[in-house]
Symmetry: C2
DNA sequence: CCTTTCGGTGAACACGTGTACACCGAAATG
DNA sequence: CATTTCGGTGTACACGTGTTCACCGAAAGG
């Protein structure tokens, strides 16, 4: 054990250090949320897991709700990546899209679990944040759908309806994936693909009748 | 204010009284869950709202988790009523089915809110209970679908897939209904009906190819 | 170099919590 | 009528919580 007392690590800018502990708090929270909901998460627990004293929390967030909203932002980035990646690898291939989704869920399960768990969850601010983000995502998907040849003539209203349905199905799949043991993940993926195919079939035959 | 000290209420059998306070606990919990998740609900709060001393709780439930599972049972009865009522009033009419759902949600919002909120929620026992109940419901719906002329020749596997999709859509609708202000409930109902119609269209054209 | 800024500290507080325990009184049982 | 059963009571305890406050030390800024 050498005892050179020279600074072995870079001095680290002050705002860099702040960013780091802020991220540590977010990570710690996400970790603890593996088996709990945000409601059952205490400030002290988070700071303890982040290796920081309780009062330091307030240097970064006004409250746990605040941290929750920040988590929504972070996790939503991961979810949006699914759409983006699916778009690149040929939006038409349903099987591929579902595969991308499954892959992303496997890569960052905590992010997806957080979203599906807190979506109807007990914290109004978080719930609202997720809701608006999902609305945005659905709108994005709707315009994507509108660019497909089959749906070029669709009313924006119907596009939105179809997009909402697909988002619902996707979230249900996410929940199943997050809950599933890994050995029956293929089954979940298969079912999701067939469901999407069923919807696609419906889309082909849709006509905007007014019943 | 007369002061006849005669027993004005029936003596009430002992197990009747027990049932009554047990139900009072369940009702109190459901009330408090209007704006909270189960994780954020304390035993003392529930007993306070039920007009009973904390320790009395244990005469009825081993823990809050236990009470949660009991709530699942109760709320699921309400949800199953939707399927039953929809079956009676002509299963073919999509519009009617959605109307029945909306009506039931309006009649007992707390029951539905509890189910959608705790489904991915933080309490394993409750989550598991809801999951199995929903599996049962989906299975039931699958056999229902199998009786329809259009789907008579379907594989049970595909029936299950379609039923799962419909349950997912239904639960998404329930969440929207529970969250929605009453004045845009018609919009939600309309979208749900169109989504179901889209699925129905897909079903008509489905053939069990193996891709 | 001196001063200010500010992320992190540690002690302290009032409070709500889950649960154990001994106890009560009336319904149930003989 | 005597006894047992049992739903509900009241007290008590140890514990984790959110938030307060004054304080520290080093980076940032003049």
């Amino acid at each position: 054990m050498s005892s050179t007392l020279l600074a072995v690590t870079e001095p680290e800018s002050r705002q860099d250090r702040k960013r780091r502990t802020r991220q540590a708090l977010l990570d710690a929270a996400l970790d603890l949320l593996a088996d709990r909901a945000m409601t059952g998460l205490s400030l002290r627990e988070v700071t303890r897991a982040a290796g920081v004293v309780p009062t330091a929390f307030y240097r970064h967030f006004a409250s746990m709700d605040d941290l929750g909203v920040a988590l929504v932002e972070q996790c939503m980035r991961t979810l949006r990546a699914v759409l983006r990646r699916a778009r690149r690898s040929g939006a038409a291939m349903i099987t591929d899209s579902v595969a991308v989704l499954a892959e992303q869920v496997r890569a960052a399960p905590a992010h997806f679990r957080f979203l599906v768990r807190e979506r109807p969850g007990g914290i109004p601010a978080v719930r609202a944040a997720i809701a608006t983000e999902l609305r945005l995502l659905a709108a994005e998907l709707a315009t994507d759908l509108g660019r497909l040849p089959v749906m070029a003539e669709w009313e924006t209203d119907d596009l939105r309806m179809a997009a909402d349905l697909m988002v619902s199905a996707m979230l249900a799949t996410v929940m199943a994936l997050v809950e599933a043991e890994e050995f029956d993940e293929p089954e979940v993926v298969d079912v999701a693909a067939r469901q999407l195919r069923l919807i696609a079939l419906g889309i082909e035959r849709w006509r905007p009748e007014t019943p």
